[in-house]
Each structure stands twice: as structure tokens, then as C-alpha cells.
Symmetry: C2
Subunit: 256 residues, 2 copies
């Protein structure tokens, strides 16, 4: 997903330690992506025998990766009954958006204070991708791009904690969306409504940026809870059909 955990090769003359992803790392990413994309539907059981087989790994590391997602709040573990994908209904969706608002508004203030030019450019670049995504009229691509604008804004805060929470919140937002409706719809004017985020960040206008964030999130929550109450045009896309299929994990890159 968004975090790039690529090994950093030190530039000459100094070398940095090389870290390689473990099997558990890879499985956890795969599972998180599957939940984010809807391939693993909300509330659905995690059949560990079947899924570990699909991924080409044994049950041990699969279970370990799953426990990461349990801790993250994306999977639910019930002793004796196994794992399932969480669902986030209306009550919890309100709390989710409340937490999301805390993170994003706080990150916005920090970003205005301290984001460097490269970080600000990344938010602008993410917004450009949103503009491009809207031309494609592909709801999923638009939704991804929309969330990525928010994610880069939080990344620009420079706070590892806020960014970690935001990475999970993004998946949870998707879970809440899938819980609310089988259909995935995004507004057609997301690029326009998100433009003030970029402009106010560039202008270092903290209060204006926070207000823009709040407005977007408040509206998104209303649309999530009562879609008919919001009169905006949307791109629609039905959810992928059932039958979660996980691809085998690529062999770990050998050597170090």
C-alpha cells in the first residue's frame, strides 16, 4: 500500500543496514490490501488452511501475520471460531470519523508548521493524481487517489505515530464503506473539493486547512451514513464478486 518499505542502499561511501521483509511482513501486507480492496469482504471468515495454501505458505506464519491485523483492529479473533474481517457499522463509523478528524486536523497543523518543499509537492502530486483519476471515471481509482491525498497530508506532518494511525484508518474507512453498502461510490468532484487542502497547505494557512479537512470529513461521514441526504453526483462501481483469492507470495529476494 502507501508505505514503501524498500531497503535503502546507502550511497557511497557509507552503507546502511539492509533489511529484508519477512514472510510474515509480506503476508500481512497481502491481507491488509485484500481487506482494503474488498477482496476479503467485511465480516467474512478467514479460512487459514485455504488462504495459507493460496499464498503458498504454511499456517504458522499466516497465523502470525493475521495476529498483526488483529492488533491493528482489521481482523477479529474469536477463540475456537477463528478469524474474521471486522465490520464497522454506523455507530462505530461515527467514532472512526471522529478519530480520523483528530489525526488529520492535527497533522494538518503540523504540516503547515514544518513540511518541507518536497513533502508539500507530494500532496500537490497526489492531488494531480486525483484529477487524473477523475478523468478515468474509475470509482476505485478515484477513491484510492482521494485517500492518498489525505495520506500524503498526514505524511507531511512528519509524525510517525500519526502516519501509522492514518495508514490503518484508511483501511478502516474502506471497511466502513463496504459495511454500509455493497456498492462503491465516490463523488465526481473530489478533485475540486480537495483543492483547498493543497492550496491552504501551500499557503501555510493552518486554520483554513483545518476547516477544509473538517468540511470534507463531515460531508464524507454524512454520505456514508445517509447517502440519500447528500446531493452530489457519483461514480459507481459494484463490489468485486465473492470468492477471495489470494495470490502466492513472491519468493523472498535472496541475498542481503
Amino acid at each position: 500500500m502507501h508505505p514503501s518499505s524498500r531497503a535503502r542502499v546507502g550511497s557511497a561511501p557509507s552503507l546502511s543496514p539492509v533489511t529484508r521483509p519477512s514472510t510474515v511482513d509480506l503476508i500481512a501486507v497481502e491481507l491488509r490490501n485484500a481487506i482494503y480492496s474488498g477482496a476479503l469482504p467485511v465480516g467474512s471468515p478467514i479460512r487459514e488452511v485455504e488462504m495459507s495454501g493460496q499464498l503458498g505458505v504454511s499456517r504458522g506464519p499466516f497465523r502470525e501475520a493475521a495476529q498483526r491485523l488483529v492488533q491493528e483492529g482489521l481482523l477479529l479473533s474469536t477463540p475456537g471460531r477463528g478469524l474474521s474481517v471486522v465490520s464497522i457499522g454506523p455507530d462505530r463509523a461515527r467514532a472512526l470519523y471522529e478519530a480520523r478528524t483528530v489525526v488529520e486536523t492535527s497533522a494538518a497543523r503540523l504540516a503547515v508548521e514544518r513540511a518541507n518543499a518536497a513533502q508539500v509537492a507530494q500532496v500537490r502530486s497526489a492531488h494531480d493524481a486525483l484529477v487524473a483519476a477523475e478523468r478515468s471515471e474509475d470509482a476505485r481509482r478515484v477513491g484510492d487517489a482521494d485517500l492518498n491525498v489525505h495520506w500524503t497530508l498526514v505524511a507531511a506532518s512528519g509524525s510517525p505515530w500519526l502516519l501509522r494511525w492514518m495508514t490503518t484508518l484508511i483501511v478502516e474507512v474502506r471497511v466502513a464503506t463496504f459495511t454500509a453498502s455493497e456498492e462503491y461510490a465516490v463523488r465526481t468532484d473530489g478533485a475540486h473539493s480537495h483543492l483547498p487542502l493543497v492550496e491552504r497547505l501551500e499557503a501555510r494557512d493552518a486554520d483554513g486547512l483545518v476547516a477544509a479537512v473538517r468540511e470534507i470529513l463531515d460531508e464524507a461521514l454524512v454520505r456514508l451514513l445517509r447517502p440519500e441526504a447528500v446531493e452530489v453526483e457519483t461514480f459507481d462501481e459494484p463490489r468485486p464478486g465473492p470468492g477471495a483469492r489470494l495470490e502466492p507470495i513472491s519468493p523472498t529476494i535472496p541475498g542481503r
Copy 2:
């Protein structure tokens, strides 16, 4: 620790589903407590063969529980080298306190808006426990009570997300403390300095409460980073000696 995951027995005539803690749940709690208390020192390796033996469980569920703590940020997993307790030095401590401030000030505002009388009473009760702890002059007990005041305040916000983050932040604050110094010291006037938290919550004074939270956290960070810069009297206690010892986990309560 603070979250009580006790099974809720429904009052007659309706019964609620019974949930029992899994072995993985129990191990994770044990590990988290051991990090919080310093029994597992910062930076120390997690010897899974030895520790699972001490807990009386096999390595499988031990590894699963450890992965929860990896996701939580309390343990670090390095492929081929295993697990170790994280350390949080000065740079990360600043970011930690920044995140802590975000959570606690946001929770404070929500608590003022919506905490019921029972929740407010719990904050007051937590403060009473801090007063009692100071009479004992036991630094650990004081530190625990201090953090519990903060935790109950966040609990009073009613936000599951903020509370979950806060539960981890508390352990991380301890990790940062142990990283900074072998000695554990708490100020002797914590009850006095925390009193405005309770009073302003009771008075529903949001701005006043937020200011009080900020002041306490700012001062705590200064004391963490430069202890000599803060002239306050402290209770001191050396850290427990090395040799982490985990007690065997009680057998799961049979039946359902």
C-alpha cells in the same frame, strides 16, 4: 493493565455471549505488562524458546502474541535475528509526546462535551489514587497512578480509537523513560499538578483542560529529555535488575 476484558455475564433474564481469552491474548498481555514494568528491558532480545518455556506455552502461540506487539510498535522484529524490545530515544520521544498531546487534548475536548457523571467520577477516583500513591512514596505506584489519571481522561472521551492509541502510548512513554535513564523517577507533586485536570473536567472547561494537559505533557517531555533542567523534587527508584522472568500463564478457565 487498564483495559478490563472480563467476560460479561448477562443479568437475568438475558444472557450475553461469553468470550474467553485465548492463549495468545494472555501471552500478549503478559508481554505488554513486562515491557511496561521494565521487567523486559528496552532493547533486550526476546528469547522465544526460553520465554515460552517460562510461560508454560509452546512457541507457536508465543510467536503469535509477539506479532501483535510488533504491530503495536512495542517489539521490533528483525528477520533472522528475532524480536527485541523497542527503544525510544530523544528524537522519537519528541514525536511520541507530540502524538500523546494530540490524543490527550482531543480526548479532553470530547470528554468535556460528553463524559457522563460516572466517567468524570472515574477520573476523580484515579486522581484520588494518585494522592494515595504519593503518600506511599513508591515511585512506581506514583507513576502508574499518574498515567492512569491520563488514561481515564481519555477513556472519558468515549472514543474507542483514542483509547486504543492511548493504551499503547502509555507503554511507549514507559519505554521512553527507560531508554533515557536506568533510574525511574517521578515528581513528588504530581497529584497537585494534575488536580487542574480533574477540576476543569468537572467544570466542563474545555480550553482550561486542554491548557492543563499541554502544560503537564510539555513539562514531562522536558524532564524526560533534560532532567537537570527541571527543578522539581522526585521520588526515585532504581530499575528492577536484569533477568526477565515471565510467570507461567494460568490455565484458561474451562467451560464456557
